[in-house]
């Protein structure tokens, strides 16, 4: 799962220049670096939250200086690959969980670019769902500090104005959509012009329809016992299109971008938006008076069967050739301490990955927290796919289905072909 934050190109350029300046590529685990032992280099995609964590880390470790850069996901993935292959990567860097994108744990751990973090105190405490995407071949490489869910985020004021309540069954959902459309305020904003947005509704529906009956679906896919085309993925896709036909979304979702969709939901021109919980912070920026609540998106008529896609967000990995390994480990352990973790998730509007950090969950996320504690979640589907192509095929394929250039059958067949191509 990639959340694309508006990019700061200059940050990338600065990063390239800055990090090239402190290249060397030699391992300096022993403190032979002289003055360098007090400087840590860091590249992060956590714009807007890593700044606070760095400040707290520097305060807790007097004399230590963190030189860090932040950038959007696209630019970051491009930058980090170049730096890793040329030996100019920073000591600590953002790493995505699992597989399926160019900056993911499997992709970076396989050629040996990441240091094994299994010996760190928090590694054994990670919940299983998170462990599965923080590890590669049984070793932990990714310090994952937070998790996010996908579901319906409602604008409470708009709901009250429309006199409607969030549905918890599929039947009610369609009735809710019809009632909302009749009142002239569509139920959900959908920003499918940005192709990564297209997958969110699909994931929210797949979680219940596919994994509700079959928690081992991923294992079956891996061993070739299951395919997308012959599974409940067809049902989920069908429901997605039923929602579109029922008028659950505003007009022209393909011409509406992520930014515009936030505007619709924040100002009550739709009753909500189907997104990751991270959107709540962005909605609040657009409408500080608004109250926004996360709810699971139902896909069947049995509310107790609903499952939420909830998964680890991007974490931090340590460069296998870190110039300052001690400080790098210290930073990663700070991120995984209750203090660092809470700082991060509070700012990002997510939930901490470790239990018992004493984190007070925001009321808007109460439902997500309940689902996580009850184990009624599955990782984002792409995190366990063998390559990045499956997801990209799905993203452009969903846009094609919405613009009548393709059909669900064609899309699932293509995804199966890409899945079988392996890593």
């Amino acid at each position: 799962m990639k959340t694309r934050i508006p990019t700061v190109l200059s940050a990338v350029v600065t990063a390239a220049a800055l990090l090239a300046a402190c290249s060397g590529g030699t391992k300096a685990g022993d403190s032979g670096g002289g003055g360098g032992s007090k400087t840590l280099t860091l590249a992060s995609v956590d714009q807007g939250s890593v700044e606070d964590v760095v400040k707290a880390f520097e305060k807790a470790n007097p004399g230590v200086k963190v030189r860090y850069t932040t950038s959007g996901a696209d630019q970051y993935q491009q930058q980090i690959r170049t730096q890793l292959s040329s030996g100019t990567a920073p000591d600590v860097m953002s790493v995505w969980p699992g597989n399926g994108n160019p900056g993911a744990t499997y992709v970076l751990a396989k050629p040996g670019y990441l240091r094994d973090l299994s010996d760190q105190p928090w590694a054994a405490e990670l919940p299983d769902a998170i462990k599965s995407v923080a590890q590669y071949e049984g070793k932990t490489y990714n310090a994952i500090f937070g998790q996010n869910g996908i579901g319906a985020v409602y604008n409470q004021q708009a709901l009250e104005k429309a006199g409607l309540t969030p549905p918890d069954t599929w039947k009610d959902l369609l009735a809710f959509c019809r009632a909302a459309a009749d009142k002239g305020t569509p139920a959900f904003a959908l920003g499918n012009q940005d192709n990564w947005v297209t997958q969110l509704v699909q994931y929210a529906l797949v979680a219940t329809t596919v994994y509700g009956d079959d928690r081992d679906f991923d294992k079956k896919m891996q061993t070739g016992q299951a395919t997308f085309a012959q599974s409940q993925w067809t049902t989920a896709l069908d429901k997605y299109l039923t929602m579109e036909k029922t008028g659950c979304f505003q007009k022209n979702p393909l011409g509406t971008n992520y930014e515009a969709s936030q505007g619709l939901a924040a100002t009550g021109r739709t009753l909500g938006i189907i997104q990751g919980n991270w959107v709540i912070a962005l909605l609040k920026q657009k409408n500080p008076q608004g109250t926004f609540t996360f709810k699971a998106l139902p896909a069947t008529d049995d509310p107790s069967a609903t499952i939420v896609p909830a998964a680890a967000g991007a974490g931090y990995g340590v460069n296998a050739k870190a110039k300052n390994e001690d400080l790098a480990l210290k930073f990663v352990n700070f991120v995984m301490s209750p203090e660092g973790m809470n700082l991060f998730v509070k700012k990002q509007g997510g939930l901490p990955s470790l239990p018992d950090t004493g984190y007070a969950v925001d009321p808007s996320l109460a439902e997500l927290s309940t689902f996580i504690r009850a184990g009624r979640t599955v990782p984002f589907m792409d995190q366990l796919w063998p390559n990045a192509k499956v997801q990209q095929t799905m993203l452009s394929g969903l846009q094609e289905i919405f613009s009548d250039q393709s059909t669900p059958e064609e899309l699932l067949k293509e995804m199966d072909a890409d899945y079988k191509a392996g890593s």
Binding site: S85, P102, N252, L254, A388
Partner: protein, 315 residues
């Protein structure tokens, strides 16, 4: 103003070596060939060698990261020709390049003819029409992305003038999106073409026009028989710039549509970017880049040969 004879004297005193004989000989003395060496070395090691080394990767399955990769021969090129997305992207690229070349230069020429007349506001108009060309492409693309949204300025304008029925999902409709992209680029660069045509127009001597007019040629005839041939150099440069720009097009497409919906506006350049940086298929992506280079080289050389022949014929 003419100079008095005594005013020329100091010049002669100042350059005692500049004898008339030396003046006459100078153009025939070629500079030593090794003068070109520093520039040539720089070009070879900064441009040619890295490019050639890059081309090598087009024949491998390198993922941009793993130091272990294997040689796959022409495999990437073979894949390309069976890849519907790539073929579609090549088609879009050619379609965009040709439409931009025709529309941008057609409009640019009309604008140049317009602002080359004696109308009062011509200087202000020139500035206005050229202004979009100085804005960064990515900025104009983001502006237009909002203007062309379902509730954006373009549709609001149609609503205001009572054409509600003509409202479109400009960037979300696969039939329209490509033309919306072309429209944005023509909007941005027509003024650029205009300036080059304008420079050409202003170099057309008035006397020839007057002579033609006395001979009874009307405005259309004068444009066709006098202005057009004398504008040949401006045509050459404008067509070259727009065809190369059109084939290489990336920023505006990526910012406006990201190649979507689906692959409806993918060009070779956006596909190169996605294959390399999203999918990590560097080998394949470089193979695409090699094809792009060949297309640009063939199109621009061919066009140059044809246009420069016309230019010679016209002069």
């Amino acid at each position: 103003m003419t100079l008095a004879p005594n005013e020329q004297l100091p010049d002669h005193d100042h350059f005692p070596h500049a004898a008339p004989a030396a003046h006459a000989r100078r153009p025939r003395t070629a500079p030593p060939w090794w003068f070109v060496l520093p520039a040539l070395l720089l070009f070879v090691f900064v441009v040619l060698v890295p490019s050639a080394r890059g081309v090598y990767y087009a024949f491998t399955d390198w993922d941009g990261l793993d130091p272990n990769f294997s040689f796959v021969g022409l495999g990437n090129f073979a894949d390309m020709f069976s890849d519907a997305d790539a073929m579609q992207a090549i088609w879009h690229t050619l379609l965009i390049a040709v439409s931009i070349t025709v529309l941008q230069n057609g409009l640019g020429l009309l604008l140049a003819l317009g602002v080359n007349t004696a109308i009062k506001s011509r200087n202000v108009l020139r500035v206005f029409l050229f202004a979009p060309a100085v804005i960064t492409p990515i900025v104009t693309a983001y502006l237009w992305r909002n203007l062309l949204g379902p509730d954006g300025g373009a549709n609001s304008l149609l609503g205001v003038v009572g054409l509600d029925g003509s409202r479109q999902d400009w960037l979300g409709d696969p039939q329209l999106a490509l033309w919306a992209v072309v429209g944005v680029i023509v909007w941005q660069y027509a003024g650029y073409s205009m300036v080059i045509f304008l420079a050409g127009l202003q170099s057309v001597p008035k006397e020839i026009h007057e002579a033609a007019e006395i001979d009874g040629a009307g405005p259309v005839r004068r444009f066709w028989s006098v202005t057009r041939p004398l504008l040949a150099p401006a045509f050459t440069i404008n067509l070259m710039l727009s065809i190369i720009g059109g084939i290489k097009l990336f920023d505006q497409v990526y910012a406006l549509t990201g190649g979507g919906p689906g692959h409806a506006t993918d060009t070779i350049s956006t596909l190169i970017y996605k294959d390399a940086f999203t999918l990590g298929e560097f080998g394949y992506s470089i193979a695409l880049a090699v094809v792009l280079t060949i297309i640009v080289a063939v199109a621009s050389t061919g066009q140059y040969l044809v246009l420069s022949r016309n230019e010679r014929a016209a002069s």
